[in-house]
């Protein structure tokens, strides 16, 4: 069938009914709105560095600055071990997925409230909003990743075949952010308390993730609990894939994937359920 908009879907019937306690996820509709997803992501990226002098350089400054601070205080002064890799590379390699996650989480959690003018004026699958907020972080990540490659070259760190795992790990980081972001964005519509907890949450989460230190310093008896944090698997995975750390983070990674799948499924249903009231309470 042609894409002629008038006749493409004449036979379709939209049924409008009271809120359902168990709505479906609506994958098909989400797919139909993929272009909106693209445009909203594109808007966020485009607008982010408008009217800034440094523009996209900001995407690099933040992790670089964090790296300097961490290298100075943890690497130099506290003497935190770094698995035999130069500490700056060691921490920068972890900061990238971390920043991607932290940025995406904050953006998606505030996305519905930030787009309330859309939500109260036009219909589209609301899932588009937090998803596009999460995707927007990928560009910054890509820019910073180039810097990481340069640094690795300068420090003489050569990645092995494991580098092919990076896209999968990026996906896992994004999914983690989305899973948590779905819960928080929906909650944020009703309880603006969420907005105030996000910064706090991200800070605590940073210390619960092996960004400034190797996960090997975590005592064995806490490892199981520690692995429940999906970002542990992501960050360990990054170091394994890029810095050639010997042991593969198979088990923590598997736990991460399971935890994220559970969080994501729950988040999707929770979101879809609350979504039906967004326009009334936002």
């Amino acid at each position: 069938m042609s894409t002629d908009p008038i006749f493409s879907s004449v036979s379709s019937v939209a049924r409008i009914e009271p809120p359902s306690p168990w709505p479906s996820i609506g994958w098909r509709e989400l797919w139909e709105y993929r272009e909106l997803l693209y445009f909203l992501t594109w808007r966020d990226i485009k607008v982010r560095y408008k009217q800034t002098v440094l523009g996209a350089i900001w995407a690099v400054i933040q992790p670089l600055f964090m790296m300097v601070v961490f290298s100075l205080f943890f690497g130099r002064l506290a003497g935190v071990p770094s698995d035999g890799v130069p500490y700056p590379v060691f921490t920068f390699c972890a900061l990238l997925p971390w920043q991607l996650f932290a940025h995406s989480l904050a953006e998606s959690s505030n996305s519905l409230v930030g787009n309330q003018n859309l939500i109260t004026k036009v219909y589209f699958p609301r899932l588009v909003v937090p998803i596009s907020a999460v995707l927007g972080g990928l560009i910054d990540f890509a820019i910073a990743f180039v810097i990481l490659l340069v640094m690795m070259f300068l420090y003489g760190v050569v990645p092995g075949w494991q580098i092919v795992a990076v896209p999968g790990l990026v996906l896992l980081a994004v999914m983690t952010a989305l899973a948590v972001g779905l819960w928080l964005s929906a909650l944020n519509v009703q309880y603006r308390d969420v907005r105030h907890t996000i910064n706090f949450l991200v800070q605590v989460w940073l210390f619960a993730t092996p960004v400034a230190y190797p996960s090997s310093i975590v005592p064995a008896k806490w490892r199981a609990l520690y692995a429940l944090n999906p970002m542990v698997g992501v960050v360990d995975g990054f170091r394994w894939a890029l810095l050639g750390k010997p042991e593969s983070p198979g088990l923590p990674l598997l736990v991460s994937v399971i935890v994220v799948c559970m969080l994501l499924t729950g988040g999707l249903y929770y979101f879809r359920r609350l979504e039906q009231q967004f326009a009334d309470i936002v």
Binding site: P5, R15, P18, L118, Q190, V282
Partner: protein, 416 residues
């Protein structure tokens, strides 16, 4: 395919009012609410006392494909709620609706416009938000740009646009949304006269393509100009549906009937009623034949009766007046009997709006003039006088039957 475009069955929407109407809740409110609920249970059956209000209550109607329907009602009658439910922005509390075909809704001009983005970028963004495909926007792009008349500013951020340009661009995108069903909320109340006219023309064009439009507006002239049918909503319920002019007239006359014209006493006269009515229908429209009738009982005999009627604006500016003695000499009126004097006006040249009548009753034999100590309001219904746009104060009060001189045709002839 059925020929029904929209079918609503018992649509109802309940909103919470009072404390929970704040734009958002905090956890503390929820905790406080949980503590308070046990004490609130007692008055659950009350319709509005339990902190809820039915914005829509059991609304049912059907609209066929290709119909242009105006949704009319006072502020807070539930028009916008209905539109929001049909647009799927919010869900009904009860009831259901079926909409056949793709739905586009314009509840606001320029939803999702971003000031930092250029006109070109906003066309794509706004189009996507309204549900257009990228290919569709690309196909319509030139049409949108020329409709909005912003060719020169396509690559300027819209935050630098004048408000007129901004609105034109926003409406331009929306007007090219090609859905079978279009839900429109008063977005036409913006822009200059020429652009409004263009918008009306576009809406009618959309209607002529066999698409269905639901148009919510306070502007009766626009509704009459665009729509062929009307649905009247009052207090959340549909009270009438029918042909546009008849239904709008009924609605307006109903609005006016609330004004009481109770009896007024002066020294010499007891006025029982002052009526202003159109011979053409239930409401008075510009250029309608109109009758003014003053019924009264003289307390003493009036040998040479006189009547002066003056048309005033609501702020008591005198527009024009009529004196009966310029038309006829009236026979004496005996005391204590009902008498009626008045005028028929062939064509009332007043623009839509509210006016008042000032009335003087006289006995010229005694040089007696009594000014009735109150005025009588009447309303000229909003109609399509000059092409359907809302006439603001710049138009004054007097309607002129006019046509433009068509200079362009003349000059074209001259050139040949």
């Amino acid at each position: 395919m059925s020929d029904l475009a929209i079918r609503c069955e018992g649509l109802s929407k309940r909103y919470r009012i009072g404390t929970s109407r704040e734009s958002y809740k905090t956890l503390r409110d929820v905790i406080a609410g949980a503590v308070a609920t046990p004490f609130r249970r007692s008055n659950r059956n009350g319709n509005s006392n339990d902190g809820h209000i039915w914005a829509l209550d059991d609304v049912s109607f059907e609209i066929k494909h290709g119909e242009l329907v105006g949704i009319i009602g006072r502020n807070g009658a539930g028009k916008s709620t209905l539109l929001k439910i049909l647009s799927r922005i919010t869900k009904p509390t009860r009831g259901r609706a079926d909409i056949h075909g793709r739905v586009g809704s314009l509840l606001e001009v320029g939803t999702g416009f971003h000031g930092e983005l250029t006109g070109r970028e906003n066309i794509f963004l706004n189009g996507a938000i309204l549900g257009m495909r990228k290919a569709e926007i690309e196909r319509k792009f030139d049409e949108i740009v020329s409709f909005a008349e912003v060719e020169k500013f396509l690559d300027t951020p819209v935050k630098r646009y004048s408000s007129g340009m901004y609105v034109r661009l926003a409406f331009g995108v929306a007007a090219h949304l090609e859905t079978e069903v279009l839900l429109v909320d008063e977005v036409l109340a913006v822009g200059d006269a020429q652009f409004q006219k263009k918008c009306f023309a576009k809406m009618r064009e959309i209607g002529n393509q066999g698409r269905t439009i639901l148009f919510v507006s306070h502007n009766m002239s626009a509704v009459r100009n665009i729509c062929k049918q009307a649905v009247i909503i009052e207090k959340g319920a549909v009270v009438a549906q029918g042909e546009i002019n008849e239904t709008v007239d009924r609605y307006l006359s109903h609005l006016n009937s609330s004004q009481s014209n109770e009896a007024v006493e002066t020294n010499t006269f007891s006025i029982s009623s002052v009526q202003v009515g159109s011979a053409a229908g239930p409401v008075i429209k510009t250029f309608d034949p109109v009758e003014v009738r003053v019924r009264f009982v003289p307390k003493t005999e009036i040998r040479d009766p006189g009547l002066y009627v003056s048309f005033l604006t609501l702020d008591s500016r005198r527009l024009t007046g009529l004196d009966l003695k310029d038309f006829i000499t009236t026979a004496p009126l005996p005391a204590g009997q009902v008498a009626e004097l008045g005028f028929t006006i062939e064509s009332l040249p007043l623009l839509p709006g509210a006016y008042q009548l000032e009335i003087h009753l006289k006995d010229m034999a005694r040089h007696l003039v009594e000014i009735i100590p109150r005025t009588f309001e009447f309303e000229v219904a909003e109609t399509d006088v000059y092409g359907g746009r809302k006439l603001d104060r710049w138009f004054g009060n007097i309607g002129l039957r006019a046509r433009a001189l068509d200079m362009s045709r003349k000059s074209a002839k001259a050139q040949r």
